[in-house]
Symmetry: C2
Subunit: 338 residues, 2 copies
DNA sequence: CTGAAAGCGCTAACAC
DNA sequence: GTGTTAGCGCTTTCAG
């Protein structure tokens, strides 16, 4: 345990070659004879050699690690299946590479300071920014660091830096489709349970329904939640207090929609008989709900894998094009009058 | 952007001192004159200097970073408030230090490989292992790396290495108390909805109820879930199929207990009239449920802060003592016959 | 208190 | 193909 770690020097000695050759084998350069390669590999096994990542990074300027930046408070973050899926997508995308993955928590001020230290070309080669906020405090940090960044969602006004790319969905169009659907199904007093005020995606979905409803849109019938079930439940309560005869609700997340359903059940309001409901996300829980939830599908997991692809492309010196995946409405029972 | 980053050399030149002095200021050594310190600080501001972490680590052997190891599949992990709380505790604990925090995902084989690379004395100074499994595949990796590890929960048979410590709760005793309570309240056919088979904590809770029930314990009345609501719902369904006249249920998590409540509501089984229910965790959702959930409280957040304290102590060369926090029963409506 | 200098372990450019 | 060598940017003796 106290024993000194084997270095490249030790390996070279054991293999009877020079440091340079060992390094070449390590970075599998083509300019190595089979014999030398074999000898080095054996020596690595014997010595239990593991490269010192710092020495390597110091000399090469690479880190072989990317960071995933998380800028929402823990509870909000951790209970949201969206993040789980996004992260799975990222994990999937990374499988094809040999990059390391590091999660950077930046939900509180203190965490932001800590994370800022890590957003540095000498720590991570690139950053994937999940859950961007409007006027996101970490965007300037990313820009200043010079690290390439892929934002999942809206990067905010005037792209922070030339090394920022985005991959997202048609949030606004999704909201629009949901709004149109509610209207078509006959809803005339449509309420909205939006997500966190500062969440970029939520704002776009809200703009979308507003577009769809036009004059029928009532700004008084908008409540904000945190994407969670409980917040949807409470928001629905407030909406019902204010407007007992509303006949449609668009929720910016499926979980809030489920909370809203629950609240209405409690109030003996029939869905879809009295009120039509549309969610957003298309998570499993929505399909299993009673009534089955109409929702706007977005390919979250795919966004994750794409983010990785774009980032690796950027690391390779390419200039990836921003991607926007289409959302589409999934009509189920909660929005269709029987 | 393309501009070369300022190095310690630049700072030294601007400040009119030597590299050594700058380094001393950076590591706030006491052996520096006020004048020199001020000059260096000014120069740092002017040049926008930021230390190169790799160079620093290479020279010093420290990393100033700890890793949090997560060995459960994403969905399971991310929807569990327990992790959120644990992580908050860790975040809190870290606030007093200037250590960086890095989350290491190791839920799949691929992720495990990736994480293993990072569990290395040259990457992280220490590891906090959340959610240990029985025969956890990452424990040998941790041991082999020589990195100090604090395990939140049971480290498994024969402590992996002399540099492993644990902080946990009296899981078994908690299960025992729950079991006793159910008996005292008159339950005679008690079922158990345990957590994942390989989760160390879940196993202990199960052993605890078994202790309490003694001869009344029926191994056929045990089902396993993944700590999630849905899995509790389904497990309850299976139990009811098998034993429609059970009169008590202990669930290894509050979320599974809520799922079980839901399932029983569906079957028009009255809680606590027909069946008594006890959960585990004491999450908020349980207190808000109908009926309010009796549960076993464990100080999760505190476990997180303690893990950090133990780890920093270990990094400081001390040998912290393992900690076990007491659980206690919180009696609410779900387990008390009216 | 401060400067000089010797590494930390590795990569990459340069000879051969 | 392979060995040699000059750094990468910092910490940490060791003198002074």
């Amino acid at each position: 345990m106290t024993e000194r770690r084997a270095t490249i020097e030790d390996v070279a000695r054991v293999a009877g070659v020079s440091r340079g050759t060992v390094s070449r084998v390590l970075n599998d350069s083509p300019r190595v004879s089979e014999a030398a390669r074999a000898a080095v590999q054996r020596a690595i096994g014997e010595t239990g050699y593991r490269a010192n990542p710092h020495a390597r990074s110091l000399a090469s300027g690479r880190n072989d690690t990317i960071g995933v930046l998380l800028t929402r408070p823990h509870p909000e973050l951790f209970e949201d299946p969206t993040f789980s899926l996004l992260l799975q997508g990222i994990s999937d995308g990374l499988a094809a590479t040999d990059l390391g993955l590091v999660l950077l928590l930046a939900g509180t001020d203190d965490e932001q300071r800590r994370a800022a230290r890590f957003i540095d070309p000498r720590h991570v080669d690139g950053v994937i920014h999940i859950s961007p906020l409007i006027d996101d405090p970490m965007m300037p940090v990313c820009a200043a660091s010079g690290v390439p960044v892929v934002v999942c969602g809206d990067a905010g006004n005037g792209r922070a830096s030339s090394r920022t790319w985005t991959v997202g969905t048609t949030d606004r169009l999704g909201g629009y489709e949901a709004g149109c659907h509610l209207r078509e199904q006959g809803a005339t007093r449509v309420a909205v349970i939006a997500g966190p005020e500062r969440a970029a995606g939520s704002r776009d979905r809200l703009l979308g329904v507003r577009d769809a409803l036009g004059g029928a849109f009532d700004p008084d019938l908008v409540e904000h939640g945190d994407y969670g079930r409980e917040s949807g439940f409470r928001a629905m309560g407030r909406l019902l207090d204010r407007c007992p005869d509303l006949d449609g609700v668009f929720c910016a997340s499926d979980r809030m929609a489920l909370g809203a359903l629950e609240r209405m059940r409690l109030a003996h309001i029939d869905v879809p008989g009295d009120v039509l409901v549309v969610g957003f996300d298309d998570h499993e829980i929505g399909a299993a709900a009673t009534p089955a939830l109409t929702t706007v599908h977005q390919p979250i997991r795919r966004i994750g894998t794409t983010a990785v692809q774009m980032l690796t492309a950027a690391l390779g010196g390419e200039n990836p094009t921003d991607q926007v995946f289409p959302t589409h409405l999934v009509v189920r029972d909660s929005s269709v009058r029987r």
